[in-house]
Symmetry: C2
Subunit: 337 residues, 2 copies
């Protein structure tokens, strides 16, 4: 087996401001040999996510930062090539943190899981609508946002991989849904294809003025992925007992100096409201519940989604930049093999 070459992309430097492709380094090594109870997995697809910007940064967070010189972290779908484990047999498709490389070792503590053999969905769906992305939307809007029929839900990065699923779950729950996105194309997709009630192009429109028009009953839930000025604007327009769900803060990830905090946080007091962050890893014990419900909606046509698939592991360092300039259309995935 030592003839198998394993292409890897390492974290070479901690980004200052925006990620640069030179923050990564390519290398080839021999693929590892699986030990007792382990399996060798060949990665087929790699998920690229905004959260990766956080993993590249030093400092206290919900997960250890990737160390310099380590293979860059990432969720993958792979296939078992060789197994010394009762859990995995050759040919099984496996979801796990396989990282930015061709081959990795899955063992009892790796968190890897084999997918059922006969899933009626494309494999890539388990990195998008049925993967961490879909589960983030599912638990964030349902468990933290607690939507009730008739409430008004505002979603930032609404055309993004997570946001677009949040929008549709909220619609499925009978809410009025207003999305904020970065282009007229994305806004049109949100309204015409996903069926949300209104969409705002934050690059060309006044978010405050458009929200006032689109939310005549003010805002009960805000699902936020951006932070910054939009978060502050929305906080100024919440209803009593509103829930502000902090899923991300993409305006902060690349900041090289402190981003102003939301001075309208004081609405949390006057409106007796809640702002709460969550991380999907806290819900992994309920992953099956989420996948089942998302899969049912998907099968029923109640959950539309897009995948933006880039060919070739070597293109991952350039592809990830697209998450931050907004040029990806749907869940960004790298096809490795």
């Amino acid at each position: 087996m030592s003839a198998i070459r394993n292409r890897q992309i390492l974290l070479a430097a901690r980004p200052v401001g925006e990620i640069k492709s030179t923050d990564f380094k390519y290398q080839e090594v021999d693929a590892p040999e699986p030990g007792e109870g382990q399996a060798l997995i060949r990665n087929l697809y790699l998920s690229l996510d905004p959260a990766m910007r956080g993993w590249m940064r030093e400092g206290d967070s919900y997960i250890e930062p990737v160390r310099l010189g380590d293979v860059m972290r990432g969720g993958t779908i792979g296939e078992v090539v060789k197994s010394n484990s009762a859990e995995f047999k050759p040919g099984d498709k496996v979801f796990g943190m396989g990282n930015w490389q061709d081959y990795w070792i899955a063992g009892p503590k790796s968190g890897a899981r084999a997918l059922p053999a006969d899933v009626p969905f494309p494999l890539t769906n388990f990195l998008s609508v049925l993967g961490i992305t879909g589960l983030t939307a599912y638990f964030g809007i349902l468990d933290v946002g607690l939507p009730k029929a008739g409430e008004t839900v505002v979603v930032s990065t609404a055309a993004g991989a997570v946001g677009s699923i949040v929008c549709q779950i909220a619609k499925n729950k009978g809410c009025r849904v207003v999305g904020i996105a970065g282009s007229d194309d994305k806004c049109a997709w949100l309204i015409n294809d996903l069926g949300i009630d209104a969409a705002i192009n934050y690059k060309t429109q006044s978010v405050a003025a458009e929200l006032r028009k689109a939310c005549p009953n003010k805002i009960d839930i805000y699902f936020d992925n951006v932070g910054g000025e939009i978060l502050n604007t929305v906080l100024g327009m919440i209803n009593v007992h509103a829930r502000v769900v902090i899923c991300g803060a993409i305006t902060q990830y690349n900041a090289t100096q402190a981003v102003p905090g939301p001075s309208n946080y004081i609405s949390l007091l006057t409106k007796r409201s809640r702002m709460e962050g969550f991380v999907v890893i806290d819900y992994m014990h309920r992953a099956m519940e989420g996948v089942m419900q998302l899969g049912q909606w998907l099968a029923e046509g109640k959950l539309k989604h897009r995948e933006d698939i880039v060919e070739g592991l070597e293109n991952a360092p350039n592809a990830i930049l697209r998450l931050f300039d907004g040029s990806n259309k749907g869940k960004l995935i790298v096809k490795i093999a």
Copy 2:
């Protein structure tokens, strides 16, 4: 009855920045006559509270602002002078929103409540530890903060009327309690008399450095009455699943320009934590529960408190200023009669 004179203090101007005594106006009118189902109440004590700064300001809040020219709003304890109501009989002591004046009319919809005749506590306690102040502390720390034994609780304005009760409830629940206050005297009182674990004088000490020393296990609950820089500092030091309880924001009440928001709100994401505001009026249906428990702790010596009683309704406009310069020692109350 028309010979009874009613002294009143009106809101004459909306404060710009700090309250000035000239924002109020004194007048004397005839006391009103109670109609059918109503009672005439003579105020004995008036509560002065930081929240009054908010009531004097125009704009959207949890309660309508006081209108210019109206009697200034305030909670009072009074005595029934004359009654056409089955609910109140002359001599009854009544808690209600009697405002800054000698006499007012309590009726079925006024929210006024007679106190039991034989309460074993001084009347003023129903404006302090057993009144809105105590209930604010009680529901804020217990229902929003959700303290568990062994957790670390930080309280700002810890020597204040609400904060000092929060500190003691948290101690009663088995928490490590760290208070932030504005003088060495207040800090000494918190440690020596109330028995909290550490106290920080924010005027002379580095809050960040002292919190690091006083909170070796970081911060699980922050009960905030100040906002501003201290809120931001604490947000940077919270544990996973922390609760930040927004009870007030005294640094913002007098601000004439936007106060910077807490840029460390992003810890809510990385620490999967919650920041939530509350207003005690939402808990008034559970007031009896709170008063009973607070009364029991008080009787058992598990709840110490101070009252700072100013003589004379005419001194209320100057007395309220002391809430904002920190010179009051304990719950500020005006003795009217």
